[in-house]
Amino acid sequence: MSLKLIRQAFTNTPPPRMWHQPEFKERYDVVIIGGGAHGLACAYYLAKEHGITNVAILEKRYIGSGGSGRNTTIIRSNYLTPEGVRFYNESVKLYEQMSAEFDFNVMFSQRGHLTLAHTDSAVRTMRRRAEVNQLQGVDSHLIWPDEIKKLCPPIDVSEHPRYPILAALYHPPGGIIRHDAVVWGYAHHADRMGVHIHQLTELTGIRVENGQVVGVETNRGYIKTGMVLNATAGWCSLIAAMAGVRLPVTTFPLQACVTEPLKPFLDVIIVSGSLHVYVSQSDRGELVMGAAVDPFASYSMNGSLAFTEGISGHILELFPALSHVRILRQWAGLCDMTPDYSPIMGFTPVKGFVVDVGWGTYGFKASPISGKTMAQLIATNSTPDLIHPFRLSRFYENDLVGEKGAASVGH
């Protein structure tokens, strides 16, 4: 990388484009709707592991303009159900090798992740999570206030707050990453293997004949294809409706904000389910903070004062020293919430229409393994074991996954 930079400094030609702006083809083997990390990762693995390169990604705005460019980048695998833990842990492993695989620094920083418990029942849930995690080989255990204070000196572990800290679930491999770099890395390598990335291209219809997808309508014209992947997260119900499929999804906005930059203040990631808040410090020094989803369903990405008010109060309860720090900016993204806080991956009743949706507030960390398993599903026309628990038909088979305890606030 550095050699490349030095060489570049002595030439007049601009660096090559990360990805191109190709013309529409008449027909693609696979059309992926949504240029987020999930859609791009699937294209990458289709090309890399299955030699399927006649693939188009349709993105209505620019790549990474959805949740993939708006999330707070927490990556972890200390979930509550064995199927969840196994799945997210494969993703963490793929993230660990990503910078080397891309030859591009995605700045994955495994700085440790603490989920605080403020009540006896929360301590019980953390114990259970630690057990489930350890059985799956994931580094995760309970720690007490003295050790929390060592890992995170500015936190108030006294008995003064309304909800004193009793314990924490400590997950050392948990970390944060540069989300844009992940999106760009997948886009760049997919492009180099022949995948077409079409930005400013909006899906407007899906043509289905005799229960089989035959093509898609866009604002730039018609494309023939027999395979469509819906990877549109917050917008997934609207895309599914075009194919006549209903999903168990409701779209809620999720907000986040950052403070002005500070000197190094917080090494670890702190999450509190009871206080509905989580925080980490970015490489720029800003504290990145988030909470639970907004109180009502919406496709609007406007921020609210209720959010900044609520989060400030809760952050101050944990870190009284931050009372003079200002919030610099806030934003929102759309989250496709499912009843069991687990994704929906795989086949639908319409042939040639598959989904990778239901990523709610926690899906960024799953991008690599979702891309990999969805590519395998498309290439082999069968469901990989790892994602079998997340099939759409589970809702008709009374076989929900029940991940709420580990996913509702601690994205």
């Binding site: 406007n302 209720a306 809702f395």
Partner: protein
Amino acid sequence: MILIICPNCGRRNAQEFRYGGEVNPRPKQPLEVKDDAWADYLYMRDNRSGVQKEWWYHQAGCQLWFLAERNTQTNELLRTYLLDWS
């Protein structure tokens, strides 16, 4: 959306209310409904982008459940009204 008009109390701060989800009529004869149709009712949603009919609950007020029509793209509240039981 900052204010919501409760059919009972009038204009109140939105934070007094709880959202109750899109209107999703319960099957009329529950015992005769096939399992798949029951799962559809329990889990599947329109999740509409545009004007949606939905439930609200005046939790920190008169405790009334009522209906609203809201544009989910803009959060503009078009109207709130009581369910017509007839």
